[in-house]
C-alpha cells in the first residue's frame, strides 16, 4: 500500500493543536514517535509518503529528530528495521536547508517528490549510485542489465549498486527488478507492494 502521513497532523495530534511549526527537539521526537506508531500499524513492507505541505517552519533540531532519526531506523546497509520506503512531499526551500544539513551530517539520502510528480534524490549519494537511481527512475522500473548498459558498469557492479540503493530504501526490489521510490508513488490508487 502507499500510505500518506501528513506531518502537520502528527504535530497537532502529538504536541499541540495550535502549533504549525516544527521547532525544538522534544517536538521533533514526539512527532517522530507518532509517525512510528502509524508505521507500526501499516505492516512490514510499505511505501509511505511523508507530507510536509502544511508545515510552516522546520528547524535543524526537528529535521534531525523527524527526518534523520526516522531514516536511520528504517534505512541501513546492515539490518533495516522493516522494508519501509519513504517519499517526502511538500518540502519547501526553507525545509530543504534543514533537511539537507541533517542528511549530510548522518550521510543519509532520501527521495523528494514535487508538485509536478518529478522526483529528486537528495543527500549523500555517490556518483554511481545516483546515476543508477536516475536510470531506474527514468525507466520507471528496470533490472541490473539496464543500469549496466547505460553506465558501462559490469553487471555485477550494477547489481551491487542497485542492492546498495535498495538497502538504503531508495529503490524498491521486486524479484530481480527495481522501481525507483519516487516513480512508485505516481499512481493515485493504492498499490500493494507485495501483490
Amino acid at each position: 500500500m502507499i500510505n500518506h502521513i501528513d506531518v502537520s497532523s502528527m504535530l497537532r495530534k502529538s504536541v499541540c493543536e495550535l502549533y504549525s511549526n516544527l521547532v525544538t527537539r522534544p517536538t521533533g521526537a514526539a512527532v517522530r514517535c507518532e509517525i512510528e506508531q502509524e508505521l507500526d500499524r501499516i505492516g512490514d513492507r510499505a511505501l509511505t509518503v511523508i507530507d510536509f505541505s502544511h508545515v510552516g517552519l522546520l528547524d535543524f533540531s526537528c529535521a534531525d529528530e523527524i527526518v534523520a532519526k526516522l531514516l536511520l531506523q528504517y534505512v541501513s546497509l546492515d539490518a533495516p528495521r522493516r522494508e519501509v520506503y519513504f517519499v517526502f512531499r511538500g518540502i519547501s526551500e526553507s525545509h530543504m536547508d534543514a533537511i539537507e544539513a541533517v542528511l549530510e551530517r548522518h550521510k543519509l539520502a532520501l527521495v523528494t517528490q514535487h508538485a509536478d510528480g518529478a522526483s529528486r534524490l537528495i543527500g549523500i549519494v555517490d556518483v554511481d549510485e545516483r546515476r543508477a537511481w536516475e536510470i531506474i527512475s527514468q525507466l520507471g522500473a528496470g533490472v541490473s542489465a539496464d543500469v549496466a548498459d547505460a553506465t558501462g558498469l559490469s553487471h555485477d557492479e550494477a547489481e551491487r549498486m542497485l542492492d546498495i540503493l535498495w538497502r538504503r530504501r531508495l529503490v524498491i526490489r521486486h524479484d530481480s527488478a527495481y522501481v525507483a521510490v519516487g516513480s512508485a508513488t505516481a499512481p493515485v490508487e493504492p498499490v500493494r507492494l507485495d501483490a
Binding site: 511549526n21 525544538t24 517552519l57 528547524d59 535543524f60 533540531s61 534523520a68 519547501s92 536547508d97 548522518h106
Partner: protein, 295 residues
C-alpha cells in the same frame, strides 16, 4: 556593603562589558545597585543582559530606572520592566505605555522550556516579513531562515543553560560605521552553565592542555561540538553560522570570559574574531545582527 554599578548611556553588547568589569570582582551575595538613570539607549542585548545579570546575583539587586521619559517608555514597550520587577527592586518612576513599538519584532521574552520557543516562533513570524523584506530590503527567502536561526539560539537555553534566559528582537540603525545602516538584531542571554561547563559534562570528556572558555566557544561554534554523543547534535549553531554568512550578518557569542564572533564579509562592522580574558559572566550571551541590503 552595597556597590553602585554605573550603566553606560548607550547599552549594547560592547558597552555592557563596562558593567561586567564592575560586577565581576564582587562576591555573588554582595548587594548591587544597577544605575541606569542616565541611560539613553539600550539594544536588545543590553536589556536581556541586564535581566541575566540580576539572575546571576545571590542577593536581589536594585535597579535605578532611566530618568529620561522616552527611554523609560521605550523600555516599558520592550516589556523590560515587566520582567525586571521580578528580579530587581525597581526604584524610580517606571512609565508605562500601551503604544506598540514598530521597530520591535519581539519584546523581551522569557525562555525556559520548549513551549516558549514555539510561542516565540509563532509570534515573530507574523511580524518578521514586513520588517525584513520591506524595511531592510532583504529577499523574502530570509523570513523562514531568520525564524529558524531564532529558534535554534533560543533552544540553546532550553537544552544547555540549566536555567531560564531571555530573548528580544528589534530593528534599528547601526551607528558603528559612519552613515549608519539599518539592522535587525536578535539577542539571547542566559546566566546558565555556559559553553565550557556544558562541554565538560559530556560523557568521557577530557580536558586538554589548554582548555578555557575561548576553546569551548571555538569547539562549539566553529566545529559543532556538543555535550551529547548523538551525532545529530550541534547542527543548530552550524545552521545559524551558515544563515549569518548568507546574509552578510554577524554572530557573536559570549560565554564565561571569552567572546567569539563570526564576522560579516562586508565592511559594516569591525570586530575581533575572538576576545579572551574578559570579565567573567556566567551563561551564554548571543547576538545575531543582519544588515539591510544596500545597492
Amino acid at each position: 556593603m552595597t556597590t553602585i554599578i554605573n550603566v553606560p548611556h548607550s547599552l549594547e553588547d560592547k558597552s555592557f562589558e563596562q558593567v561586567l568589569d564592575q560586577v565581576a570582582p564582587l562576591p555573588l551575595d554582595e548587594k548591587i545597585i544597577v544605575d541606569t538613570r542616565h541611560a539613553r539607549w539600550a539594544s536588545p542585548y543590553g536589556l536581556t543582559a541586564l535581566l541575566a545579570l540580576a539572575q546571576s546575583r545571590a542577593e536581589r539587586p536594585v535597579l535605578y530606572v532611566p530618568e529620561a521619559e522616552n527611554v523609560s517608555t521605550y523600555w516599558s514597550r520592550m516589556d523590560f520592566f515587566k520582567h525586571a520587577a521580578e528580579l530587581y527592586e525597581l526604584q524610580g518612576r517606571v512609565r508605562s505605555t500601551k503604544a506598540a513599538e514598530t521597530s520591535v519584532l519581539l519584546e523581551v521574552t522569557s525562555i525556559s522550556k520548549s513551549d516558549d520557543v514555539h510561542d516565540v516562533v509563532d509570534k515573530i513570524q507574523q511580524r518578521a516579513q514586513d520588517a525584513l523584506v520591506k524595511n531592510l530590503n532583504l529577499d523574502a527567502k530570509i523570513t523562514m531562515r531568520f525564524t529558524m536561526a531564532l529558534s535554534e539560539v533560543c533552544q540553546n537555553i532550553v537544552e544547555h543553560a540549566g536555567r531560564g534566559g531571555w530573548v528580544a528582537v528589534q530593528t534599528y540603525t547601526w551607528r558603528v560605521r559612519l552613515g549608519g545602516r539599518k539592522v535587525v538584531v536578535i539577542a539571547v542571554c542566559d546566566p546558565g552553565i555556559g559553553f565550557r561547563q556544558s562541554l565538560e559534562s559530556a560523557p568521557g570528556f577530557q580536558k586538554r592542555e589548554r582548555w578555557d572558555d575561548g576553546q569551548a566557544l571555538e569547539e562549539t561554534v566553529m566545529r559543532g561540538a556538543s555535550r551529547f554523543r548523538d551525532p545529530g547534535r550541534g547542527q543548530g549553531l552550524a545552521g545559524v553560522r551558515k544563515f549569518v554568512g548568507t546574509w552578510d550578518g554577524k554572530l557573536s557569542i559570549r560565554s564565561g570570559t571569552a567572546r567569539i564572533a563570526v564576522l560579516p564579509k562586508g565592511d559594516w562592522d569591525e570586530d575581533e574574531p575572538l576576545l579572551e580574558d574578559l570579565s567573567y559572566f556566567p551563561g551564554a550571551q548571543v547576538q545575531i545582527t543582519i544588515p539591510e541590503r544596500v545597492a
